[in-house]
Symmetry: C2
Subunit: 454 residues, 2 copies
């Protein structure tokens, strides 16, 4: 049985592949890395682009009722005061008096949530790091927003924040977007942008990092219609992952119990994935009511409402928010696609990625590094690369070159051999079945177009 | 004569169009805006996506010698110490003792640069803001990097910086990228990412902002080959702008004189654009030698070199860097495309954008808001939108709907009329010539594919 059939992939296998092949590296590795930050290498950058394009295409371009936004990262700090983040976007932090490691109190074993969200820890709790008992401090609230200072004179500069989410920009720009795009309720505003949280315990590779990229939709509906739209988006987001080839048995809904909901939430469902470290959050779909809109209306004195021509009413819409981290989507796509199977050369590592996501769509391989094979192979590459991300590889034996492509998930290998010079045809090998098919060079673009999804 | 023929567009016309139609809004406008920050609305977000895609396609996907990177924004501060930014990335700042406004000293009239880059101002200089004479302070150096603090205990947290450029990540990741991508010299690493500079005087709409998006290539060559590659990239970048439809008469090269070059530069050419406020920088192409690589080698103790199999030598490459701001590219594309011409309804405002860049490629317009016209129009929209960003509009008379699309640069308007129900054909109107052509509905995808560039 292969790794994928038994669902036995480990984080180490993914981290190792990512570094070895140029998907993800530790950031500033020559300086010893930094605080769980990661850089995306050539294949990682392509894969992220593909994920963004898929999300944008599904959520914005193919719909009439969603438009895009790209708001500034650093904006007026009043936004974060009004939203409640300056006052309340914090986690309970404890420190060990012995080893000085710090932990999120609510994640420690035996932690209980008391009145007003206060975390109560068992008195005899051992430090998860040094093991010493009774050394943990009382939990205190730690704000997760990064601060910076805008302006040119210290002391007088304005304290600003790096955004912990993209959502607030859709709320504060609601009227500008609605009027300029002439949309009517229900409609949504979508954004892909970096967010920043000074997490107490980042970890698990790119699962939780202090800097991450969010893909968020704020979908505005008439009050009274929030339940149907919540149900709609909950399912639509699940379908999106399945459409990218994620195996349904590794996905599930987790409906957050009413008594665990954030105070502004009228309902939240997490889409969870079966990570090697257990089931965990992948995407959240939240029914936020008009909580955020009312906060900004109160703080700014601006209306932030939709004027309904028919009823002549100003409506403050309710909001449904599906929000997912791009880095996390990349992680689960890699985990879900990773496979190892025995073959005649030992082990074949293969990433069974959807062609929508694969960083390289096709590899062009001259059978030997010889003229005129290489010229013909370059010619084919030239024809395909205006449309597809393709790779040309002429070094090593053909079996080894196939393996290189399998490991990065390339759906098709196109081999140019000596017969190609006569019959103007090439051998196309399928990554998953390893079946080979002879295809006329002139038919290649159409052949690929029928097999590579966008 | 139209506005475009006389090159008489003003910044006000662009700012007004951008706000009116949803390209660019002041950030956090409901809170009075913030420090020259801007949000990109639905059309601006699409246009930025198109510019990124064009750059990535030209600079990465269609080349064998360039690969991509997406590095973390917040990384190890040692990077910025080694690069020289902590010590030296500063501008000379003066303040008026009377009105407390601040200015970049080297931009003031009569400023001279003395020994060691010191700025000397005329003694009788008037404040550009309040006009009072002799009130400006001595210039002092002001570091343009934004600071933040990473970690969970104040005082012990690490001071980190928001990156003022993307380039350093390509230098410090050089070895990881080179070995995992198996590239040989010459080759490049490309990146699109946000950069941040605490500018003393941001301004001119999106021309100079504190937060901006850079598209940078670091192209690594063998020492001795830097001049030919500098000449190559200088021209290649100019060709890229012309290929996007920018009028050559509004572009020029400005070769920075040797005595004005940054100390690490072996040559810099600015590509300049004729803005309404005069010729100014659009893109910089710099020959940086091995300055940056040697700084990081010295600071990290890591080799950062390319091993040449043939000569068995370790080569520290020289670097050619074409770097441009995405926001600035968007500004010049809008300026260059903006047109107003008299017509029978008064004035026709039209954005003569390349189809590569236009945020909407085609609009589908039922002649009347009536069944079965609207159903057929929706059907056509459904067929086109998997491939193209399209818009459906059924409100207002057809002339007015044409004008709406002209103003946002939509190359084609597809009108579904009563004859369409009989002949299964539509009228396609060209934005620039306003010529109309009857096209069979079944032929539309191919007809558009021949006319819309990607």
């Amino acid at each position: 049985m292969s790794i994928r059939e038994t669902n036995a992939v480990t984080m180490e296998q993914i981290v190792s592949l990512c570094k070895r092949r140029g998907f993800v590296y530790p950031s500033a590795e020559i300086y010893g890395g930094f605080a769980n930050a990661w850089d995306y290498g050539p294949l990682g950058a392509e894969m992220k682009r593909n994920i963004r394009d898929q999300w944008w295409s599904t959520m914005v371009r193919e719909r009439d009722d969603v438009v895009g936004l790209e708001a500034a990262i650093i904006t007026n700090p009043k936004v974060w005061e009004a939203s409640g983040h300056v006052g309340g976007f914090s986690d309970p932090l404890v420190e060990c008096r012995n080893c000085h490691n710090r932990f999120r109190a609510d994640n420690l074993p035996g932690a209980e949530i008391g009145e007003g969200g206060k975390v109560i820890l068992p008195a005899d709790l051992a430090c998860p790091s040094c093991g010493k008992v009774g050394q943990l401090t009382e939990p205190r609230q730690f704000n997760l927003m990064f601060k910076t200072f805008v302006g040119v004179v210290e002391g007088e500069a304005t304290t600003a924040y790096l955004p912990p989410e993209t959502a607030q920009s859709m709320f504060i720009d609601f009227t500008l977007v609605q009027t300029t795009s002439r949309k009517k309720l229900p409609f949504g505003i979508a954004q892909i942008r970096k967010s920043f949280r000074n997490e107490i315990t980042p970890g698990n590779f790119i699962f939780r990092t202090r800097e991450f990229e969010q893909m968020e939709l704020e979908f505005f509906v008439r009050p009274g219609h929030e339940e149907e739209w919540f149900a709609y988006w909950r399912q639509a987001r699940m379908d999106w992952f399945v459409g990218l080839g994620v195996r349904p048995e590794n996905l599930r809904f987790y409906d957050v119990p009413k008594d665990e909901l954030a105070h502004y939430s009228r309902g939240t469902t997490d889409l969870e994935y079966r990570y090697p470290f257990g089931w965990g959050e992948l995407e959240g779909v939240a029914s936020r009511g008009d909580y955020d809109m009312q906060r900004h209306i109160a703080a700014s004195g601006e209306p932030l409402s939709f004027f309904d021509e028919e009823s002549r009413e100003h409506i403050v819409p309710y909001v449904i928010e599906p929000a997912v981290g791009l880095d996390r989507v990349m992680l689960i796509l890699l985990l879900d696609a990773y496979d190892e199977e025995p073959d005649n050369q030992g082990t074949r590592v293969v990433l069974r990625l959807s062609s929508k996501i694969a960083p390289v769509k096709a590899a062009i391989l001259p059978l030997a590094k010889k003229e005129p094979l290489t010229t013909l192979a370059r010619e084919i590459q030239g024809k395909l690369r205006r449309r597809y991300a393709v790779q040309y590889d002429e070094t090593g034996n053909i079996g080894r070159r196939y393996r290189r492509q399998d490991e990065i998930g390339t759906p098709f290998c196109i081999t140019v051999d000596f017969d190609s010079l006569e019959d103007r045809a090439v051998t196309v090998r399928d990554r998953d079945s390893m079946a080979q098919e002879r295809v006329a060079i002139d038919d290649l673009p159409a052949w690929l177009a029928g097999r590579i999804d966008y």
